[in-house]
Protein backbone atom coordinates (compact mmCIF):
# COMPACT_ATOMS: atom_id res chain seq x y z
CA UNK A 1 0.00 0.00 0.00
CA UNK A 2 1.34 3.35 -0.99
CA UNK A 3 1.56 5.81 1.85
CA UNK A 4 -0.45 9.02 1.36
CA UNK A 5 1.57 11.73 -0.38
CA UNK A 6 2.46 14.77 1.64
CA UNK A 7 2.92 18.29 0.42
CA UNK A 8 6.47 19.11 -0.67
CA UNK A 9 6.16 22.66 0.63
CA UNK A 10 8.39 23.00 3.69
CA UNK A 11 6.42 23.91 6.76
CA UNK A 12 8.20 26.15 9.22
CA UNK A 13 8.36 25.21 12.85
CA UNK A 14 5.64 27.11 14.73
CA UNK A 15 8.25 28.89 16.88
CA UNK A 16 10.29 30.00 13.83
CA UNK A 17 7.21 31.03 11.87
CA UNK A 18 6.07 33.54 14.47
CA UNK A 19 9.51 34.91 15.32
CA UNK A 20 9.97 38.54 14.39
CA UNK A 21 13.52 38.81 13.08
CA UNK A 22 13.98 42.56 12.93
CA UNK A 23 13.18 45.87 14.58
CA UNK A 24 10.87 46.82 11.71
CA UNK A 25 7.10 47.21 11.60
CA UNK A 26 4.68 48.34 8.88
CA UNK A 27 5.02 51.91 10.21
CA UNK A 28 8.83 51.92 10.00
CA UNK A 29 8.68 50.48 6.46
CA UNK A 30 6.35 53.32 5.36
CA UNK A 31 8.63 55.81 7.12
CA UNK A 32 11.68 54.30 5.41
CA UNK A 33 10.12 54.54 1.94
CA UNK A 34 9.03 58.15 2.61
CA UNK A 35 12.61 58.94 3.71
CA UNK A 36 14.11 57.52 0.50
CA UNK A 37 11.60 59.41 -1.67
CA UNK A 38 12.24 62.75 0.06
CA UNK A 39 16.01 62.18 -0.08
CA UNK A 40 15.57 61.77 -3.86
CA UNK A 41 13.70 65.09 -3.96
CA UNK A 42 16.50 66.67 -1.93
CA UNK A 43 19.08 65.58 -4.53
CA UNK A 44 16.85 66.79 -7.39
CA UNK A 45 16.16 70.19 -5.86
CA UNK A 46 19.53 70.67 -4.16
CA UNK A 47 21.67 69.81 -7.16
CA UNK A 48 19.28 70.52 -10.00
CA UNK A 49 16.29 72.78 -9.76
CA UNK A 50 17.46 75.38 -7.21
CA UNK A 51 19.43 78.32 -8.61
CA UNK A 52 23.02 79.25 -7.78
CA UNK A 53 23.42 82.02 -5.21
CA UNK A 54 24.52 85.52 -6.23
CA UNK A 55 27.40 85.55 -3.73
CA UNK A 56 28.12 81.91 -2.90
CA UNK A 57 27.36 80.63 -6.43
CA UNK A 58 27.01 76.81 -6.51
CA UNK A 59 28.54 76.38 -3.03
CA UNK A 60 25.08 77.24 -1.67
CA UNK A 61 23.94 73.74 -2.72
CA UNK A 62 25.96 72.31 0.20
CA UNK A 63 23.62 74.27 2.51
CA UNK A 64 20.71 71.94 1.65
CA UNK A 65 22.46 69.08 3.48
CA UNK A 66 24.57 71.11 5.94
CA UNK A 67 21.71 73.09 7.52
CA UNK A 68 19.22 70.18 7.93
CA UNK A 69 21.91 67.98 9.53
CA UNK A 70 22.74 70.62 12.14
CA UNK A 71 19.07 71.38 12.87
CA UNK A 72 18.32 67.67 13.29
CA UNK A 73 21.42 67.25 15.47
CA UNK A 74 20.06 70.05 17.71
CA UNK A 75 16.68 68.30 17.76
CA UNK A 76 18.28 64.93 18.55
CA UNK A 77 20.26 66.39 21.47
CA UNK A 78 17.16 68.21 22.74
CA UNK A 79 15.21 64.92 22.66
CA UNK A 80 18.11 63.34 24.60
CA UNK A 81 17.82 66.08 27.23
CA UNK A 82 14.02 65.83 27.41
CA UNK A 83 14.11 62.04 27.83
CA UNK A 84 16.93 62.38 30.38
CA UNK A 85 14.74 64.76 32.40
CA UNK A 86 11.77 62.39 32.10
CA UNK A 87 13.93 59.53 33.37
CA UNK A 88 15.33 61.50 36.30
CA UNK A 89 12.25 63.41 37.41
CA UNK A 90 9.39 60.94 36.99
CA UNK A 91 8.47 58.40 39.67
CA UNK A 92 8.73 55.38 37.36
CA UNK A 93 12.36 56.08 36.27
CA UNK A 94 11.51 54.24 33.06
CA UNK A 95 14.48 52.82 31.17
CA UNK A 96 12.46 53.39 27.98
CA UNK A 97 13.23 57.12 28.32
CA UNK A 98 16.91 56.33 28.84
CA UNK A 99 17.04 54.18 25.69
CA UNK A 100 15.36 56.86 23.55
CA UNK A 101 17.83 59.40 25.00
CA UNK A 102 20.79 57.16 24.09
CA UNK A 103 19.47 56.34 20.60
CA UNK A 104 18.79 60.01 19.89
CA UNK A 105 22.30 61.01 21.02
CA UNK A 106 23.88 58.41 18.69
CA UNK A 107 21.91 59.76 15.72
CA UNK A 108 22.71 63.33 16.74
CA UNK A 109 26.44 62.56 16.80
CA UNK A 110 26.25 61.13 13.26
CA UNK A 111 24.36 64.22 12.05
CA UNK A 112 26.79 66.54 13.83
CA UNK A 113 29.77 64.76 12.23
CA UNK A 114 28.12 65.32 8.84
CA UNK A 115 27.53 68.99 9.73
CA UNK A 116 31.23 69.45 10.49
CA UNK A 117 32.34 67.57 7.35
CA UNK A 118 29.99 69.35 4.92
CA UNK A 119 30.74 72.65 6.65
CA UNK A 120 34.46 72.11 6.05
CA UNK A 121 33.84 71.51 2.33
CA UNK A 122 31.68 74.66 2.19
CA UNK A 123 34.34 76.59 4.13
CA UNK A 124 37.04 75.58 1.63
CA UNK A 125 34.95 77.00 -1.22
CA UNK A 126 33.81 80.14 0.60
CA UNK A 127 36.67 81.06 2.93
CA UNK A 128 39.51 79.20 1.20
CA UNK A 129 40.26 77.01 4.25
CA UNK A 130 38.73 73.80 5.60
CA UNK A 131 38.96 74.84 9.23
CA UNK A 132 39.33 78.01 11.26
CA UNK A 133 39.25 78.28 15.04
CA UNK A 134 36.26 80.54 14.69
CA UNK A 135 33.63 80.85 17.46
CA UNK A 136 30.88 78.93 15.61
CA UNK A 137 33.19 76.16 14.39
CA UNK A 138 34.92 75.75 17.75
CA UNK A 139 31.68 75.62 19.78
CA UNK A 140 30.20 73.14 17.28
CA UNK A 141 33.27 70.90 17.61
CA UNK A 142 32.95 71.19 21.40
CA UNK A 143 29.29 70.12 21.22
CA UNK A 144 30.27 67.14 19.05
CA UNK A 145 32.99 66.06 21.49
CA UNK A 146 30.61 66.47 24.46
CA UNK A 147 28.16 63.97 22.97
CA UNK A 148 31.00 61.57 22.10
CA UNK A 149 31.70 61.76 25.85
CA UNK A 150 28.01 61.16 26.61
CA UNK A 151 28.10 57.97 24.50
CA UNK A 152 31.36 56.89 26.16
CA UNK A 153 29.75 57.27 29.61
CA UNK A 154 26.81 55.14 28.46
CA UNK A 155 29.34 52.40 27.68
CA UNK A 156 30.74 52.28 31.22
CA UNK A 157 29.85 49.36 33.44
CA UNK A 158 27.14 49.13 36.07
CA UNK A 159 23.44 48.41 36.17
CA UNK A 160 21.01 49.85 33.62
CA UNK A 161 19.73 52.37 36.16
CA UNK A 162 23.28 53.47 37.05
CA UNK A 163 23.95 54.00 33.34
CA UNK A 164 20.67 55.89 32.92
CA UNK A 165 21.30 58.18 35.90
CA UNK A 166 24.89 59.03 34.93
CA UNK A 167 24.10 59.69 31.28
CA UNK A 168 20.90 61.64 32.06
CA UNK A 169 22.91 64.15 34.11
CA UNK A 170 25.40 64.59 31.25
CA UNK A 171 22.56 64.81 28.72
CA UNK A 172 21.02 67.67 30.69
CA UNK A 173 24.34 69.51 31.04
CA UNK A 174 25.50 69.06 27.43
CA UNK A 175 22.30 70.46 25.91
CA UNK A 176 23.13 73.88 27.41
CA UNK A 177 25.82 74.16 24.72
CA UNK A 178 23.24 74.36 21.91
CA UNK A 179 22.19 77.99 22.56
CA UNK A 180 25.89 78.84 22.92
CA UNK A 181 26.60 77.33 19.47
CA UNK A 182 23.57 79.04 17.93
CA UNK A 183 24.32 82.49 19.36
CA UNK A 184 28.11 82.25 18.96
CA UNK A 185 27.96 84.21 15.69
CA UNK A 186 26.39 87.14 17.56
CA UNK A 187 28.32 86.84 20.82
CA UNK A 188 31.76 86.85 19.18
CA UNK A 189 33.19 88.13 15.91
CA UNK A 190 32.75 85.17 13.59
CA UNK A 191 33.59 84.18 10.03
CA UNK A 192 30.41 82.16 9.92
CA UNK A 193 27.36 83.87 8.49
CA UNK A 194 24.38 84.69 10.71
CA UNK A 195 21.02 82.97 10.36
CA UNK A 196 19.40 83.42 6.94
CA UNK A 197 16.16 81.67 7.87
CA UNK A 198 14.41 83.20 10.86
CA UNK A 199 16.95 85.80 11.88
CA UNK A 200 16.45 87.91 15.01
CA UNK A 201 13.80 90.00 13.23
CA UNK A 202 11.96 86.85 12.07
CA UNK A 203 12.74 87.56 8.41
CA UNK A 204 13.38 84.88 5.78
CA UNK A 205 15.90 86.32 3.35
CA UNK A 206 15.95 83.58 0.68
CA UNK A 207 14.78 82.92 -2.87
CA UNK A 208 11.57 80.82 -2.97
CA UNK A 209 13.10 77.78 -4.70
CA UNK A 210 16.15 77.87 -2.41
CA UNK A 211 13.87 77.99 0.63
CA UNK A 212 11.81 75.10 -0.75
CA UNK A 213 14.98 73.02 -1.33
CA UNK A 214 16.01 73.66 2.26
CA UNK A 215 12.50 72.72 3.42
CA UNK A 216 12.73 69.41 1.47
CA UNK A 217 16.08 68.74 3.17
CA UNK A 218 14.61 69.37 6.63
CA UNK A 219 11.65 67.05 5.92
CA UNK A 220 13.96 64.31 4.54
CA UNK A 221 16.31 64.41 7.53
CA UNK A 222 13.41 64.58 10.01
CA UNK A 223 11.91 61.39 8.53
CA UNK A 224 15.35 59.77 8.59
CA UNK A 225 15.81 60.76 12.24
CA UNK A 226 12.45 59.24 13.25
CA UNK A 227 13.17 56.03 11.31
CA UNK A 228 16.61 55.62 12.88
CA UNK A 229 15.29 56.49 16.35
CA UNK A 230 12.61 53.77 16.23
CA UNK A 231 15.01 51.08 15.03
CA UNK A 232 17.87 52.01 17.36
CA UNK A 233 15.75 52.34 20.51
CA UNK A 234 14.20 48.90 19.82
CA UNK A 235 17.67 47.40 19.36
CA UNK A 236 18.74 48.99 22.66
CA UNK A 237 15.75 47.42 24.41
CA UNK A 238 16.90 44.00 23.18
CA UNK A 239 20.50 44.69 24.28
CA UNK A 240 19.21 45.42 27.79
CA UNK A 241 17.05 42.29 27.70
CA UNK A 242 20.05 40.14 26.78
CA UNK A 243 22.14 41.77 29.52
CA UNK A 244 19.43 40.88 32.06
CA UNK A 245 19.21 37.30 30.78
CA UNK A 246 23.01 36.93 31.00
CA UNK A 247 22.98 38.26 34.57
CA UNK A 248 20.15 35.90 35.56
CA UNK A 249 22.05 32.92 34.12
CA UNK A 250 25.23 33.92 35.96
CA UNK A 251 23.33 34.21 39.27
CA UNK A 252 21.66 30.80 38.72
CA UNK A 253 25.03 29.21 37.90
CA UNK A 254 26.58 30.71 41.05
CA UNK A 255 23.66 29.47 43.21
CA UNK A 256 23.99 25.97 41.71
CA UNK A 257 27.74 26.06 42.42
CA UNK A 258 27.16 27.04 46.07
CA UNK A 259 24.43 24.39 46.52
CA UNK A 260 26.58 21.52 45.16
Amino acid sequence: MTPPTTSQTPVAEPDQARRVRSTGTAATRVLGIATIVTMGWLVAFGLGFSPADRDQEDAVRIMYVHVPTVWLAYLAFTVTAACSALYLFTKQHSLGFDRVAGASAEIGVVFMALTLATGMLWGKLTWGVYWQWDARLTTTALLFVSYIGYLAVRGLGGSHHQRARRSAIIGLLAVIEIPLVHWSVRLWRSLHQEATVLDVDGNVDMDGLMLFSLFVGVIAFTLLYLWLLLHRSRAMAMEDQLDDQGLDRAIDARRAEVAS
Partner: protein
Amino acid sequence: MITALSPGLVAMDNAGYILGSYALTFVVIAGFAVRVLRGGRRLADRIDDDDKYWT
Protein backbone atom coordinates in the same frame (compact mmCIF):
# COMPACT_ATOMS: atom_id res chain seq x y z
CA MET B 1 38.15 74.01 -10.73
CA ILE B 2 36.00 71.02 -11.67
CA THR B 3 32.80 71.73 -13.56
CA ALA B 4 29.96 69.28 -14.18
CA LEU B 5 26.37 69.33 -15.36
CA SER B 6 23.76 69.10 -12.63
CA PRO B 7 20.42 67.28 -13.29
CA GLY B 8 18.93 70.66 -14.20
CA LEU B 9 21.59 70.92 -16.93
CA VAL B 10 23.15 73.92 -15.24
CA ALA B 11 26.93 74.08 -15.30
CA MET B 12 28.09 73.68 -11.71
CA ASP B 13 31.31 75.21 -10.43
CA ASN B 14 33.35 73.27 -7.86
CA ALA B 15 31.34 70.12 -8.55
CA GLY B 16 33.92 67.97 -6.74
CA TYR B 17 33.24 69.68 -3.40
CA ILE B 18 29.48 69.92 -3.89
CA LEU B 19 28.89 66.38 -5.16
CA GLY B 20 31.44 65.16 -2.59
CA SER B 21 29.41 66.68 0.26
CA TYR B 22 26.23 64.94 -0.94
CA ALA B 23 28.07 61.64 -1.55
CA LEU B 24 29.71 61.78 1.88
CA THR B 25 26.35 62.50 3.55
CA PHE B 26 24.53 59.64 1.85
CA VAL B 27 27.38 57.13 2.31
CA VAL B 28 27.61 57.89 6.05
CA ILE B 29 23.82 57.74 6.50
CA ALA B 30 23.55 54.48 4.55
CA GLY B 31 26.41 52.96 6.54
CA PHE B 32 24.85 53.96 9.87
CA ALA B 33 21.39 52.72 8.78
CA VAL B 34 22.80 49.33 7.70
CA ARG B 35 24.67 49.03 11.01
CA VAL B 36 21.49 49.80 12.98
CA LEU B 37 19.37 47.33 10.96
CA ARG B 38 21.94 44.52 11.09
CA GLY B 39 22.44 45.00 14.82
CA GLY B 40 18.66 44.85 15.32
CA ARG B 41 18.33 41.64 13.28
CA ARG B 42 21.21 39.98 15.13
CA LEU B 43 19.62 40.80 18.49
CA ALA B 44 16.07 39.91 17.37
CA ASP B 45 17.21 36.33 16.63
CA ARG B 46 18.17 35.89 20.29
CA ILE B 47 15.09 37.40 21.93
CA ASP B 48 11.58 35.93 22.29
CA ASP B 49 8.80 37.78 20.49
CA ASP B 50 7.03 38.32 23.81
CA ASP B 51 9.91 40.56 24.87
CA LYS B 52 9.71 42.71 21.73
CA TYR B 53 7.30 45.48 22.69
CA TRP B 54 6.76 46.56 19.06
CA THR B 55 5.37 43.16 17.94
